[in-house]
């Protein structure tokens, strides 16, 4: 028998031992924590944190014996203040993004954030009206742009589309059924699309093509039976449609830097410089936060800086296309010719070559006129 066992026997024999069951030993430990909370609450201001304070005190006491109640109190206070700060900031951010910056539950309209030149809105059963900044179009509306005119429309906070000059566009849907769809009857649309939620898409439809995306920058141009889809970012799914019944005959994904030319088939090629520059103009166009709450003045202000950059890019496009102003033509060629045709049309520009076909640099680009159609030049 060991000394410890002997001692236990001695203490038992002489009536010193009053065993407490193991179960009660555990209960005493819990009572110890409860009693300390009760005493601290009785002797000091009542606090909701007294119980956690005591609980944490005993947890940490088992790890490090030098912890004190005051130390734990400071720790809890710091944690509480930090938590309060996090909750406050979290609430503020949540409110900011879910209440103050919340989009309308269902988007049913696109807003003109910028217009240039002659842009017309055509609504069913109404007279066509000139579009102005802050005007909107809804499903079923159409719009058309004239020569040297363009407009930028924004739907929600993720879709921006620029309707280029001499284009005719119909709005088929605006996310009512999770998809936004625009029909391009002629001309060109350049789109910028931020990442859309799952099961939401954006489609541009022409007579012979569908271009579908979820987030990218791309342009679609259409002239009878030829659709050109140029992609700057992401991937666009291009589908060839049967022009009579509209069924999909073929489809190809078009990735960044490439263009699909859709006729009776889909041909993929690299973007031209002009296409890349045109796509650049949509990159520079701003998506306006809470556009639906902004005044036209605020929108114009937002466009001030981007417009300067867009104009610079447009100059580059014109240079690539050979488009010059009359003054630029006069400065380059030293004169301006006026050419009158037999059909009565008058063309102003500078003749840059003569022969059976006369080549003229005009403000709209270089044109070639058969000599026999020219009545006289001045």
């Amino acid at each position: 028998m060991s000394q410890i066992e002997q001692l236990t026997e001695v203490l038992l024999k002489y009536g010193f031992r009053s065993p407490v069951s193991t179960q009660d030993q555990k209960k005493i430990l819990k009572a110890k924590k409860r009693a300390l909370s009760a005493i601290l609450n009785k002797e000091r201001k009542k606090s909701l944190f007294t119980a956690p304070l005591v609980g944490l005190y005993y947890v940490l006491k088992n790890i490090n014996n030098s912890v004190t109640l005051a130390g734990i109190a400071r720790l809890i206070n710091t944690a509480f203040i930090s938590m309060l700060l996090i909750i406050t900031l979290g609430t503020a951010f949540t409110l900011h993004y879910t209440v103050f910056l919340r989009e309308p539950a269902v988007l049913t309209e696109a807003i003109f954030t910028f217009t240039m030149g002659d842009v017309t809105i055509i609504r069913e059963g109404k007279e066509p009206v000139k579009a102005r900044i802050k005007d909107n179009v809804t499903t079923g509306d159409s719009l058309s742009t004239g020569l040297n005119s363009w407009a930028v429309l924004q739907a929600g906070s993720s879709l921006l589309f620029k309707v280029m000059a001499e284009s005719d566009v119909s709005v088929v849907s605006l996310f009512e059924d999770n998809n936004a769809q625009v029909r391009l009857n002629g001309g060109k649309i350049i789109s910028k699309l931020l990442k859309l939620p799952k099961e939401t898409g954006y489609i541009i439809e022409t007579r012979n093509c569908y271009a579908a995306v979820r987030g990218t920058e791309f342009s679609v141009s259409y002239q009878p039976l030829e659709t050109i889809v140029a992609v700057k970012e992401g991937t666009v799914l291009v589908q060839l449609r049967d022009i009579t019944v509209g069924t999909v005959l073929n489809e190809k994904p078009v990735s960044a830097g490439y263009t699909a030319v859709v006729t009776d088939r889909i041909v993929i090629r690299k973007n031209t410089i002009v296409e890349s520059l045109e796509l650049e103009t949509i990159s520079l166009s701003p998506i306006i936060t809470r556009a639906w709450d902004k005044s036209s003045r605020e929108m114009k202000k937002t466009w001030e800086k981007p417009l300067t950059r867009v104009s610079t890019v447009e100059k580059k496009i014109n240079a690539e296309k050979g488009i010059m102003t009359i003054d630029e033509i006069r400065e380059k060629y030293g004169r301006i010719d006026t050419i009158t045709l037999y059909n009565g049309r008058v063309i102003r520009g500078s003749i840059i070559s003569r022969g059976a076909v006369v080549t003229v640099q005009t403000a709209g680009g270089i044109i070639r006129i058969p000599k026999k159609k020219i009545k006289y030049t001045r």
């Binding site: 031992r17 009053s18 009660d24 030993q25 430990l29 005493i39 004190t68 005051a70 206070n77 509480f80």
Partner: protein, 179 residues
């Protein structure tokens, strides 16, 4: 918020330190006398509450707590209508009682325990009492005084050795002689 500054005063520090070391011992002592866990909890809380209030004038917390424990337990029996209770018997006062007729030997052991307690740290004394008198396991006793199993085992063995030395000084050469 918790008034951390208030908790850092000397009174609270002394209270917390003694509470940590002595609560389980005082509780066990009360529990073995009243034999009702909830009553023991109330009485123990009352004892420590009084201790908190009187802490400035208490010189020896251990002695003070055991003395107050006696009074509060007596109050408890009075409230229960057991005024004729033999408090000395309940408290098993060694000098007054004849347990199994071993009065002299009990007095020697009591004296040795007191002598041993004088040379031990508060925590080791509590540890010894919990294990020896109230049959706490090493592991459980460790939890009550914030020590690991190994620390408890070492400290307890040392205290037992010390007690045997004290008994030896008092003429008890071997524990076997007492059995």
């Amino acid at each position: 918020m918790i008034p951390a500054k208030e908790l850092s005063d000397t009174r609270t520090q002394i209270f917390a330190e003694n509470y940590d070391h002595l609560y389980s011992l005082i509780f066990s002592s009360i529990y073995t006398k009243v034999l009702n866990f909830h009553d023991a909890e109330d009485i123990c809380q009352e004892v420590f509450l009084r201790f908190y209030q009187k802490i400035d004038v208490v010189e020896n917390p251990r002695k003070w707590l055991f003395g107050t424990l006696r009074n509060v337990v007596l109050d408890y029996y009075n409230r229960k209508g057991k005024k004729d209770i033999d408090i000395e018997n309940i408290f098993n006062d060694v000098s007054m009682s004849y347990v199994n007729g071993f009065r002299d030997t009990r007095l020697i052991i009591e004296e040795a325990l007191e002598k041993m307690h004088e040379s031990e740290e508060d925590r080791d004394r509590t540890l010894f009492d919990l294990i020896s008198f109230y049959n706490f396991t090493y592991e459980e006793a460790g939890k009550h005084v914030n020590l690991t199993y190994k620390q408890v085992r070492t400290r307890y063995a040392r205290t037992v050795k010390n007690l045997i030395a004290c008994l030896s000084d008092m003429g008890v050469k071997s524990l076997e002689d007492l059995l």
